[in-house]
Symmetry: C2
Subunit: 306 residues, 2 copies
């Protein structure tokens, strides 16, 4: 089984605080490190969390506000100091290329590796053998994306009892069936569907970045294992939240409830709640009991949904 581990690196919003660094979330999955947003301090938070600086690193930016991206210059520089050779993949909304160019124009040292930038607005942001990252437009004050990391469906369980009954021995033939290939055994063709259960759905993590509550995100988050949602303010500041393109803790919980997710993390917490954050959690739990406050360096291993 492949472990899917979520690590909150920075969970504050706008301005960092003593307790919260600026937005960044790492997901370790399938030998890759997927980094959502890269606020100032991300590289040091990675060190504190012990994530390492993987060769297979993909960075996805939700939007180009400073608090979500200004850790990227330092991270890019450090990867070069660490003698990275493999290209770094950076994906974000239109403007991402210009941002990377501005970073490189500073010329604080020459890079040992290339940066491959891709700008998107929605659809498939990245695909590997084991997972897909999709994007959808969020509802913020500037062009902003929400991302979904979706593990590809895993093959159904083998019906071991049935296979033993027909006498097919464990070994290469099982492997081929598991990979979805029909095999010939004792003069007849056995198809995978005959010996395997239905495909098992992959795990899903949705990260909204900065957004107002949005029906599009409800749709995008359907049945997600984890929803990490903008919850900048308490609902006492709902008007301010909406005018600044954000959600309240209650608003985030309503989205989680409508989408039927398994678990909600309140994210992008305003520094004004330092020392008083439980009130955000309380109002979220009143709507969606399985709500949690994201905390810097907190990690969560997403269980298999089976």
């Amino acid at each position: 089984m492949t472990v899917m581990k979520l690590i909150f690196l920075g969970t504050g919003g706008g301005i960092p605080s003593v307790k919260r660094s600026l937005p960044s979330i790492a997901v370790k999955f399938s030998g890759h490190m997927i980094l959502f947003d890269c606020g100032e301090g991300t590289q040091r938070q990675m060190m504190k969390a012990g994530t390492g600086f993987k060769r297979e690193m993909i960075i996805l930016l939700t939007h180009l506000h400073g608090d979500h991206i200004l850790g990227l210059p330092g991270l890019i520089y450090t990867l070069s100091m660490l003698n990275r050779k493999d290209p770094l993949i950076v994906i974000g909304p239109p403007g991402t290329k210009k941002f990377i160019e501005a970073i490189l124009s500073i010329r604080f040292g020459k890079l040992n590796y290339e940066i491959h930038v891709r700008e998107i607005l929605d659809g498939i942001a990245y695909e590997s053998r084991e997972y897909v990252i999709e994007a959808v437009r969020a509802d913020h004050t500037v062009t902003a994306l929400a991302y979904k990391l979706r593990e590809k469906d895993r093959p159904g369980r083998m019906n071991a009892e049935y296979l033993e009954r027909i006498g097919l021995p464990k070994g290469p033939l099982w492997g081929r069936l598991q990979r979805g290939e029909p095999v010939e055994f004792k003069g007849r063709i056995i198809r995978p569907e005959e010996v395997m259960g239905p495909p098992r759905p992959g795990r899903k993590i949705v990260y909204t970045g900065d957004t107002r509550p949005s029906d599009k995100i409800v749709e995008f988050s359907k049945d997600a294992d984890v929803l990490i949602h903008d919850a900048t303010f308490h609902s006492e500041f709902e008007e301010e939240a909406l005018s600044e393109g954000h959600s309240t803790a209650r608003g985030a919980a309503e989205i989680a409830f409508k989408a039927g997710v398994k678990r909600l993390y309140l994210f992008h917490i305003s520094p004004r709640y330092e020392g008083n954050e439980e009130k955000l959690l309380r109002e979220a739990r009143a709507v969606f009991p399985n709500s949690f406050l994201a905390e810097d360096l907190l990690s969560y291993e997403v269980p298999l949904s089976d």
Copy 2:
């Protein structure tokens, strides 16, 4: 008496570590906040140190390597979010203007205030009523400056005994004498020199930024109260230190000894010494006993030299 307080915000070099943020030093003096270098994470270290974000803030960059400057974009952005109106003064070597332009070209939000940039190579970087900041060329791989914060000499002590003997009462006349003005008393002119001791030398802090050991810096640091010197490596890596434009702990101590400073802080410590930094301190103290390791969030109040 005016307090001169030094606060180490980040003390690592090149790459941050769990223990050390990237270079930045705050000095609170005379109602001003003087910031030397601004490595990534500086704004959050300021929060942790409780320095506040003063209106009178002057930022001096020693050179334009990423580890010394990449906290500036986030700090600039945060000051704007905090509704700063007063201009921010940024001083550094040639290239500083271009760096600030690159930051502003990212356009992560419009600024509420102006940034006044000044590029220098040596001489007086900044002068206020109470202090002068001077620069001298350091010896690094790129154009780099060392800075000295020098409190202006304070007036000598009043000879209270003598003034009482001639009958001059405490009050406005004392004040005028203290400010260096002659006064008329009982039909004769009393000059300040007559009633005051020699001017008392102001306090001095020297920060080298990144540098090889340099005679110019010995000269520049003569009799400083505090010398904060590049001490990237132990002398076992002296060759590497010199080829990369740095000093060893022993090299820093030799400079401190030659300059006759009161106190040396080893600074810009390579992450390779994490957990094993005492060896740097040991070799420095063998040469210059009043050596200390700079530590993140450590502060030191520079005593009056009188």
